[in-house]
Symmetry: C2
Subunit: 636 residues, 2 copies
């Protein structure tokens, strides 16, 4: 059994790989004729010319009377002219045909009906006044739309008006998406340990549709060269572009590059980006094949870099781009010289500027894409971005939402989701963007103007009082407000029935229990360390002490895995996993914000929601909470 | 028969009308449960929580071997540790379950296979290294998406990954669209004089779909109160929002407001905008009804102002906005104090700034919406915008296209469409934005930096030479280039068989012929006036002299209408309408541009296309042309 790698990945510049890929892309571009009302979003394959003029007759532009201008030339306020219906004039409504022989229209407001069929006018009409001449809007034979035009609703209307009911458009490029891997199962199948749901295909086909193509998710190909070969050959035959997901790296079970090289040609294997490096680009029987890495973030980016331009190239339309915004790096972002780095960021408007906070750089975290507000790209040859430096972000969200977003940093609590949800209910543009960084990191974010509000629960072991002493110490010199928020139960999160009978910290020491710890700086960690110290227990005696989780829910998920595991956390997390909970303490979870933010419209809105009955009911419904937002804020 | 108006329209501020309308909008918002892969673009009706963690087991993050970290703590380059498969380690691939008892993974690159089932390691592993813990990406119970979130492909992927295969979304608001009017017929019916194709409905339902709703075009209601009443009652019962098109003004056949008042309530009848004033907003049996004016430009704007926010309000999403750009008014734009004016503009990047050129202000010209690059809004209380003043434009196009667009002004010629089409073929972002203003106006556009290129064919009657003397005189002091473009046939455009036997200008005088003239400043008008002068014919002797058309095709369309009509124009226009053509002169149609533009990338691109075989073949295929672009440019 050999696990040796057989090839090394290249470090080709991304743009070079793209240019080479596009240069090799010469599909037979098909067209189809479709009904105009169904044409919105489709791309014209050739210029479209008007099949009819509009109006196709001289039409009255007003409700009024059609006259001969020459008959009215003498009309004056003091010398009204009388006209007789049928011989001198005809009534016309807007859009009516101008009856033959007439050459002007007088508005209904400008005539007097003085007798049966007789009108009086007091001003001359100029020839062709109030008449929409033939072709005023559209002239037969004129070019309505150029080729390569994305048909909008208004274009579809103009086509119909010009007598065009069917239009030739570029066929949507057909993109086959082949999921591969022995560990991959369909979402509908039962999920065993070691298996992963196939969900990248749904992301890919959604993206392809967004770009104007048509994606088809093919059956999952197992990690066998012959199965992959068969899938690729079939898809290369049927599709305009083939995407194969995973197996694109250079590991022992990464067959994509080898198989493509065997039955076609590989142009690129590996690009100088982070994430997204293990890309394969090649051609089989004239069809471009893109081998996309398995991790969802890498996969998303590789689709964006290569498959999006391929789809646009097929359609003959500009490659869609995201809006951009100049942002200030809220933290230092390290990059390495050789690669182009794509950093997911949250963005908020803090103290007069847009601040970008980097999210995890792990390519396996789908939720980091869901939660990201944008991407900061660090070009190759740069060592990174310093805190406070201005950079350009490509946006995933409406800039108006970024302006309205409330940036939260600090300790994780489910109630922040409830706050966010109620914010969004009050205005569709606003919501809370939460970074679960722990209490201390939350305080630091306020200190560095990286967040609007921090959520903290930090016990002062000397006084037994929560939060205030930390704020005084770490935000010294800053005018801030400590807003009472919640009292919540902290306790032992234990498997159902509490099999190891954990009720106090000393029950852990020397027992079979494996503790699931929180990260340094988390309020729960401070509490646990305080309990250990008080009980004079050395951390070395606690199995699992070094294993740190970042949220209450993650702790509960760990406990849920294994009968020996025990964690410390809040009641609602235990309840979410149907675990048992042994209360230890009621702690104060409060919010910290600058005085300026507290007094701003956003700050007032937050306080209003926190004090609402709706918020109280939803939070207390979780169990283990008391809302304390009605208490007076402390100005520090 | 009474044509008196019965009510006058209000001048309500648009935003007030919108606020009142939204305040009255309280539909029962329905939800539906749909399959996640079909959910892209739909809006969550409630927060969505993870139904499963991902990974749902501790997974290897790498290809390698799973070990117990404690067994490796002594490993060093000089003191390798040997491990035995099955007891000390297990091989794992990326994504594999970490076998029970192991707590770290060492990458395959970092081990040496030293014997059968024996590996050697030379560095210690830290606990949990290279392991993706349970819930690293998604933790069971965490909020994945808030309510009111528009589901993107990546969100759909995350939902599947979190075990969510169906999601509750807000139903698409159902918008009934009722076309009305006796003159309106379906696109499929034969089109008689006095009848107009129903095409607004297609625009409306396309827009509604774009905004996230579902439009349904109802049968055309005739201009009868009882028919309109019946349609409105039925739609108010079935739809979430009702749109009725035309009949919204205060004319004798405008029944919308009266009928709504009769069976419901009218909040607004008339707003202070131009165009778009005759709006009706009301409510029937709890359903909002919007009466939209008939002219397509007014109709489009009223949909945008009122129906778009209604759809967004139903969905609970932000109202979509167009991107904006600061532009310089290329011409003076006059407004009146009382109304908010919406000016369609073309926009081009000329001499370092974005210049906006107003298009027609007629609300009946659909093509002005098709061709517009954006809208400039002049607020009420402003008398307009001076030439050179900066204003904000809402964009209909990708700003990248505006930067690349070549602004053409001047005489109309079909070859400009061919140039545009070939430009777009060479790059999907570039095309020619053409204003058919006539030769003289084209020269003035170059003088005032409002256009990149002008197309002119101006005969100097004194010398018989085209164009040069005009450029010298009117662009004095400006460094410009006259680029030879075409020789084209000008001649009499006459009905088939030339029934009035028009062969020279003197045949027109005193005959039954009605001349279809071109506007002052048009090259064809200069030629015609020159012919009249040479033949010593007074313009008073020419029937129809005062009737001016703006393009060759419009002249041909007029001639096509009436056996007595005769026009002057180019061969291709006559050919488009299958009319006869009597040649009069071969004229020089040339292009004028600044020297700077001539030397720019865009300028070079244009020259390259003009000199291409493809361009020559397409143009000469029209008949009546010789391409002269191979001749030397004249620098002036």
């Amino acid at each position: 059994m050999s696990y040796k790698r057989t090839i090394y990945l290249e470090d080709k510049p991304r743009m070079q790989a793209l240019e080479e890929c596009l240069a090799q892309f010469s599909p037979e571009r098909a067209v189809e004729i479709i009904s105009v009302p169904d044409a919105a979003g489709r791309v014209t394959s050739e210029p479209v010319y008007a099949g009819r003029s509009m109006p196709h007759y001289h039409a009255s532009a007003m409700d009024g009377v059609a006259v001969r201008a020459a008959d009215t030339s003498e009309a004056h306020e003091h010398r009204p002219v009388h006209l007789e219906e049928g011989t001198d004039f005809e009534y016309v409504d807007t859009g009516n045909l101008i009856p033959p022989g007439y050459d002007a229209v007088i508005m209904i407001e400008d005539i007097n009906e003085v007798g049966d069929g007789i009108v009086e006018i007091i001003a001359p009409a100029t020839p062709w006044q109030r008449i929409r001449p033939i072709g005023e809007d559209i002239t037969y034979g004129e070019m309505l739309l150029p080729q390569g035009h994305v048909i909008r609703p208004v274009d579809a209307g103009a086509l119909l008006a010009a007598g065009i009911t069917e239009v030739e458009v570029v066929k949507k490029p057909f993109v086959h998406i082949i999921p591969s891997g022995n560990e991959i199962v369909q979402a509908s199948e039962p999920l065993k340990a070691g298996k992963l749901i196939e969900f990248n295909g749904t992301i890919f086909s959604g993206l392809v549709a967004e770009w104007g193509g048509e994606g088809k998710i093919m059956p999952i190909a197992p990690d066998k060269p012959e199965a992959i070969r068969e899938s690729l050959l079939q898809s290369a035959d049927e599709a305009d572009i083939v995407v194969i997901n995973a197996g694109s790296s250079a590991g022992s079970k990464d067959f994509t590059a080898k198989v493509i090289a065997e039955i076609g040609e590989v142009f690129t294997h590996g690009i100088a980006t982070r994430p997204g490096k293990p890309v394969v680009i090649g051609k089989i029987n004239g069809t471009i094949v893109v081998g996309v890495p398995g991790y969802p973030v890498s996969a998303f980016l590789v689709m964006d870099w290569f498959v999006k331009p391929l789809v646009s190239s097929y359609l003959g339309t500009p490659v869609p781009e995201r809006p951009e915004l100049t942002v200030t790096a809220g933290r230092r972002i390290v990059s390495n010289m050789g690669s182009e780095d794509f950093i997911r960021v949250n963005i908020g408007y803090v103290n007069g500027k847009y601040v970008a906070i980097p999210l995890t750089r792990s390519a396996s975290v789908t939720m980091s894409l869901v939660k990201a507000d944008g991407l900061v790209v660090i070009p190759p040859g740069h060592l990174g971005v310093e805190q406070g430096e201005e950079v350009t972000a490509q946006l995933f969200r409406d800039p108006r939402e970024l302006e309205e977003a409330v940036l939260f940093s600090g300790s994780h609590d489910l109630c922040i989701d409830i706050l966010s949800s109620l914010m969004k209910e009050s205005s569709s543009l606003s919501q809370v963007t939460a970074s679960h960084t722990g209490s201390m990191a939350g305080l630091m974010s306020i200190k560095r103007d990286e967040a609007h509000i921090a959520g903290i629960h930090l016990l002062d072991p000397d006084t037994g009082v929560y939060n205030i002493s930390y704020v005084e110490r770490f935000l010294k010199g800053k005018e801030v407000v400590l807003l009472p928020f919640l009292k919540r139960q902290q306790g032992w999160i234990v498997p159902k029935g509490n099999p190891l009978n954990i009720n106090k910290v000393s029950d852990l020491a020397g027992s079979d229990a494996v503790f699931v710890n929180r990260q340094r700086g988390a309020g729960t960690r401070v509490l646990f360390d305080h309990l250990l110290k008080k009980a004079e227990i050395d951390t070395a005696g606690i199995q699992g002490y070094e294993r740190e989780m970042f949220t209450h829910l993650a702790v509960a998920a760990e406990v849920n895995m294994e009968q020996r595991n025990v964690g410390m956390g809040i009641y609602s997390a235990a309840k979410a996993f149907d675990l048992d909970f042994v209360p230890v303490a009621e702690e104060s979870y409060d919010l910290v914000m600058t005085r300026e933010f507290f007094e701003s419209a956003k700050g007032r809105k937050i306080r209003e929601i926190l004090q609402s009955e709706q918020f109280r009911m939803q939070v207390e419904g979780l169990g283990g909470y008391r809302v304390t937002a009605e208490q007076e804020p402390v100005f520090l």
